[in-house]
Amino acid sequence: MAQSTTSKTHAPEATKSVAELKQIAAQVRRDIVRMVHAVNSGHPGGSLGCTELLVSLYFKVMKHTPEPFDMDGIGQDLFFLSNGHISPVFYSVLARSGYFPVSELATFRKLNSRLQGHPATHEHLPGIRIASGSLGQGLSVATGAAQAKKLNGDNSTVFVLMGDGELQEGQIWEAALYAPHHKVDNLIAFVDRNGQQIDGPTDKIGGLGDLRAKFEAFGWRVLETDGNQFETLLPTIEEAQSLLGQGVPVMVLMDTEMGFGIDFMMGSHKWHGVAPNDDQLATALLQLEVEKASDY
């Protein structure tokens, strides 16, 4: 977890090994369950399922400068979280990559905290560039940010993550039509395809059907991967990056397991927005082994 104290810019770290990333992911998962346990609220399921993606982006893939945080992010890769309820994983990864003190994770969802239940810019938490939580808005925002980069002659990349249930929002499809039409080819979007939403399995609530066919029909380049294995996720992100600059945006359909990494939380929508109790937390932490745990 050691962060450089002299330079706060993360260049893409081709040397960071999968073993190291797994250690970071385990620490992030410890943060997630401890954060939601402390306030008996929050969304652990989706957070645990997207841990590999956020760790990959912030610790290996993206070129970004945590400090000083610059809202405009000129020359930096940007990440937008559209499904803002998985704020625990976002906050943990931001803190552990140097945007703000790890100790501040203890304020999550508490009064007067910068770590609001859903991400907000209002409290000026470094690393957050847009409020999210009301679903369906992030793809539009990320597309606008990508177009600003083009106007600025900035050849860095914009990443955005959406939930799969979130794709039931109509605005997503407005943006999905727009980005290929305007050749927004500096944009990589991810869908967290965990197949779950609050009221049950996505297939039963509002089936999304063949997402690859849908996005391809809208004009996107579509890749699919296992989102919980660095060994498959990292090469897929690399492939997505290789497809940039070709006149089309890239969509990565990422199969994940809600609650991944903690056996009793996996594969069910039950842990979408429920915090573990004391015993469950203890059990979870036993499953999240880190060589040198550095819990906040």
Binding site: Q137, S140, Q147, A148
Partner: protein
């Protein structure tokens, strides 16, 4: 009663178009987005001369608001253009979360506000937009009265950092604001100093207030007429100063009573200086098809309605 000479009548939306075009030349960070209404918003000149800074979004207003929020990240100053109805009610949550709560420097520019859209009817005539926008924390709400003022407001909001709702319309109205008048956000414009009643008007009703002032002068009533082009932040100081002098107030706007300028001024007076107040506004009703003049008459948004309100409020004055 002062005279307000003008050489021509023009639509306020054309003032927006002219201001946006000028910004294209003077401010390289200004970008524009439109939801399939370039001609209606008079954005043609900007589109022609600055195509690389124009984004045609199509009929997808929710996406437009999100795109605009995103474009600010990287230093752009986005101006969105569509009808007032589709600029507010249709996209309220997008504005709320991605623009207002996120503190983004987006200028929401809304044409065809109010009844004067005319024949299209109530689906397109929004009378709730000022209320919707002024309720949002951080949102500035501006409703200029004529071509010159709308152009000046368009230029001014580009220099202001923060989300703005700029409301204008379709019909031609006398263009009496001096072309060189500086637009100051949040500052009322004194049009006629008077002692008997304070008339606070906004948007298209400002000219109607001037017409009413002349009719009142013929009756020996000396009306103070102030153009409140910025509903939020409200020029509380100027409003209170005038009200304390005249001891009675009339508000006039092309909007619902609920949530409009009159509502804001009523709140202010109730807190600071309780005085009789009458509102010239639409009373809890949708609009309908008709010519703009017919509608303004039917819904009592004209000089006759203002005169009647003045007589009523003066009778209530203690």
């Amino acid at each position: 009663m002062k005279d307000f000479p003008y050489t021509e009548s023009k639509d306020t939306r054309s003032g927006f178009g002219a201001g946006l075009h000028e910004l294209g030349r003077t401010n390289p960070n200004v970008v524009a987005l439109c939801a399939d209404l370039i001609g209606s918003l008079k954005m043609d000149a900007f589109v022609k001369d600055f195509p690389e800074r124009f984004f045609q979004v199509g009929i997808a207003e929710a996406n437009m608001m999100g795109l605009a929020a995103g474009l600010t990240i990287g230093g752009k100053i986005p101006f969105t253009g569509t009808f007032a109805n589709f600029s507010t009610g249709r996209v309220y949550d997008q504005i709320r979360q991605s623009i207002a709560y996120s503190g983004k420097n987006v200028k929401i520019c809304a044409s065809h506000a109010g009844l004067t859209l005319g024949e299209d009817g109530a689906t397109h005539q929004i009378l709730e937009d000022i209320g919707l926008m002024k309720m949002l924390p951080h949102m500035t709400v501006i409703n200029p009265c004529d071509y010159n003022q709308t152009k000046a407001a368009t230029l001014a909001i580009a220099d202001y950092e923060g989300p703005v709702y700029l409301r204008f319309g379709r019909p031609v109205v006398p263009n009496f604001t001096p072309a060189d008048q500086q637009f100051e956000i949040g500052k009322g414009v004194m049009l006629n100093e008077g002692a008997d009643v304070s008339i606070f008007a906004t948007g298209h009703l400002v000219w109607k207030a001037i017409l009413a002032g002349k009719l009142l002068a013929d009756k020996g009533i000396n009306a103070e007429i102030i153009n409140i082009h910025t509903i939020k932040p409200l020029d509380a100081r100027m409003i209170l100063e005038s009200a304390r002098k005249t001891r009675c107030v009339v508000t006039a706007e092309e909007h619902q009573m609920n949530g409009g300028l009159g509502d804001s001024i009523a709140q202010l007076l109730a807190r600071e200086e309780p005085l009789p107040l009458e509102m010239v506004a639409v009373n809890d009703s949708f609009g309908e098809s008709g010519t703009p003049d017919q509608l303004m008459e039917k819904y009592k948004l004209n000089e006759a309605a203002i005169v009647a309100a003045v007589e009523k409020v003066m009778a209530r004055r203690k």
